[in-house]
Symmetry: C2
Subunit: 462 residues, 2 copies
């Protein structure tokens, strides 16, 4: 009887060629890259067996309670050096796990050069490189000093940062101001227009926005994120709705007394027309929600996914602050006109905190427009969200996705589920040119490297 009412939904387990044939025939098939749990590798099978038991379920229940009860609010803005003591002096924070200059990819090097010029520590590219080579510039991952930044994520001492606090768990997180798309620092560009925009952000946008936030009072970020999810955002590659909701929230509180018309117009225009403006706030909210879930003994929940353009790194709750890294893969990219295969840098940015948290590719089904932008399709977007339910612990009802019957986003990646199913987390991402100084080349889709999760499993199993 059910054959008459439904077309078969085929779950292909194992060899992908069967799945490809089914899809070519138009069948509703889901392919799971199955090999026996842990890929049948005896060491992993044993590790996974060792990670079963009440102590793990209880630890993960605590982690779930932590990240679902978190309530991040935008409370103020500061200069980075006021927010992060380690940024006093000649120091730069960057996206992803720790990395030294020599191993940095082009866009990260470009952003470092730009930040040094912005800070006035050097006047041009070659001076900046000499300064770095002299060893005088200290580097640190954003994630290790309470910050996040998209793409290269370079944050220097006098850049303004948003201050996002979760008062439930006493967490504070900082993030920089999104510059827009194209030739921008976070994609490795450092020409005069980039520096000019960063100066304008510090001198014009920052004081006005800081004042507006003070006048408004704390801006709760979860309601904006939840509404935006009903409006086509997945909050990583698409923040169109969240940005406008933020503008609607903060716009009325801009203090216009004595403000020149030009400054006012530029500020409102900059927010309204930068459809990624809210991304950094989504990310800070993401870190503020996941940080309270980190450091819980025996918890197998992934609390960070991040990349520096060379290495991909993850953190797992039960393993605390330790990074587990592997080479960053190159995203499958839909290039902007003028760019081509080979231009793309390997995956970069702290923005995978969005996927860590259940958004971005995990919430693909909320955002068919993004599927088009990353070279996917609406049905593929739904498939990816459903696949991510396989490796996560909760469907968070605070963030319902309309076209998956208003089910919640998939939150709480379980490193055990990733390894046992061999399904690596998907990530929607911007793609930088692999050379410094150029910028955005497109948007793409990528999967986290399995090696990070395998190494974490081994360490968890002791």
């Amino acid at each position: 009887m059910s054959l008459l009412k439904e077309k078969p939904k085929v779950l292909n387990v194992g060899l992908e060629s069967f799945y490809n044939d089914l899809k070519a025939e138009g069948a509703d098939a889901l392919s799971i890259d199955w090999s026996p749990p842990g890929g049948g590798v005896p060491e992993l099978v044993k590790a996974l067996e060792r990670l079963e038991g009440d102590e793990y379920e209880e630890a993960n229940a605590k982690a779930i309670e932590a990240f679902t009860s978190s309530d991040p609010e935008l409370i103020s803005m500061k200069l980075a050096k006021e927010a992060v003591p380690a940024l006093n002096g000649m120091a730069l924070a960057h996206a992803g796990p720790p990395i030294e200059w020599e191993r940095m990819s082009g866009p990260l090097k470009g952003a470092v050069i730009g930040a040094i010029i912005y800070e006035g520590w050097a006047n041009n590219e070659s001076e900046a490189i000499s300064l770095v080579r002299s060893g005088k510039v200290k580097f640190m991952p954003n994630h290790d000093v309470g910050m996040v930044g998209p793409m290269a994520g370079v944050i220097s001492p006098t850049m303004p940062v948003f201050e996002v606090a979760d008062r439930v768990h006493g967490v504070e997180v900082y993030t920089n101001v999104n510059e827009g798309v194209g030739k921008v620092l976070r994609y490795g560009a450092y020409g005069s227009e980039v520096i000019h925009r960063l100066n304008w952000i510090r001198d014009s946008l920052y004081p006005a926005l800081k004042e507006a936030i003070a006048l408004h009072g704390p801006v709760k970020l979860k309601p904006i994120m939840s509404q935006a999810l009903q409006m086509g955002d997945e909050l990583h590659t698409r923040n169109n709705a969240s940005t406008l909701l933020f503008l609607g929230e903060i716009g009325p509180y801009v203090k216009i007394g004595g403000m020149p018309q030009t400054q006012y117009s530029e500020i409102i225009q900059f927010i309204a027309k930068n459809q990624l403006f809210f991304l950094n706030l989504s990310m800070a909210a993401g870190k503020a929600m996941m940080d309270p879930a980190n450091g819980i003994k025996n918890s197998t929940v992934v609390t960070t996914l991040s990349r520096n353009g060379t290495d991909f790194g993850i953190k797992v709750s039960g393993l605390g602050k330790k990074w587990f890294t592997a080479p960053a893969p190159v995203p499958k990219t839909l290039f902007f006109p003028g760019f081509k295969e080979g231009d793309a840098n390997p995956d970069i940015g702290d923005s995978a905190i969005m996927e860590t948290n259940g958004f971005g590719a995990f919430a693909s089904a909320a955002s068919p427009a993004v599927a088009q932008v990353v070279g996917s399709s609406a049905s593929e977007a739904i498939r990816i969200t459903k696949l991510m339910y396989e490796i996560t612990l909760v469907k968070d009802k605070s963030f319902p996705i309309p076209y998956v019957n208003f089910e919640g986003v998939p939150r709480g990646i379980d490193v055990r589920l990733v390894v046992s199913t061999s399904i690596a987390p998907y990530i929607n991402t911007g793609v930088a040119h692999r050379l410094p100084g150029i910028g955005t080349v497109g948007f793409g889709l990528v999967q986290a490297p399995m090696e990070c999760f395998i190494n974490a499993i081994k360490e968890l199993a002791g």
Copy 2:
């Protein structure tokens, strides 16, 4: 072979009980309330036969060209009496087809009383009613004087109106400013808070917004509507995204010099927090797009659907300005807390111009959130959009709906298709309390009465 790849899609024709059984079994079924063409009524069958031929197809091609090529822009604001000569003096325009005071429903009477108090022609309800009974107040339908207004749609001489122009066809359309939800004039409320808000709109919002529009230059409305459709709006009952997109467009052009902070904050807040603010502009754009398609000999395209709370009226291109009316039905309503069955007034408002134009219920599939608000479901929303394809002439690619494979909205209701299929247009709508002075009681779903279309067919067939 296809039985293996697809579940059957059942088109149930005729008795609805078969369809209900199929749905209960979870089958993908579409029910068409079939009776033979024209319900098998010999007179209608003959009329439909008489309306076949090249002259009708050619006329409809012209109508389609007219409404698809239209390019409405917001160009300015005026007082209603400056925009519409007939509103000089003691005159009020209202939604729907023509109607005299005695036959007006509660909410329309309430809005008339409120507008008279607002204009200062009377000081209270009883004075206002006496004035109307004296015959001194002239009434006219908005649609007949180049205007549209949601719900009661009452527009009085000194209310500010938006001026929307389609320069392709030389059309100008006016609409009033949306007041928000709850106790508002358009839902028949006329207490002091209502009058106070109308005064504020005239004295504070209007001059500032008029100046901002002048500074910005013409605001193209189709791109905002198209983007909003990708962001969960169907542009009738939900205008959340379009309102914010409009704020992002016009916000930077508010002239802040000399403006008190309170006025500025109130204006931006009023737009940002009134999720129906853009509705009136959607409606004016709708009329500006459909008006050029009216008056084409032999065209069977419906160019107006509108209701005054007592009568439902339509206009058909080949029949020019003539109204074809029938009693307005009561919407199937999802009531706000505190209201119940029996409180709902029959269908009211010019806002069905949205459905006339391919939005609202016709674009249901774009807006699963609205399906929830009007008491429907996401799958029902998709079903309604697909059903509306059955009675319309084009899928307009300028307005793609993500979850119907990015197919365009159903535009160009053909009065022949409505009568031959017996499928009446669906409408998403706000619902007013049936008594004057109360306001909004909920949102609902309603179908246009078939009688209007049947009468138009008869007249077209001569």
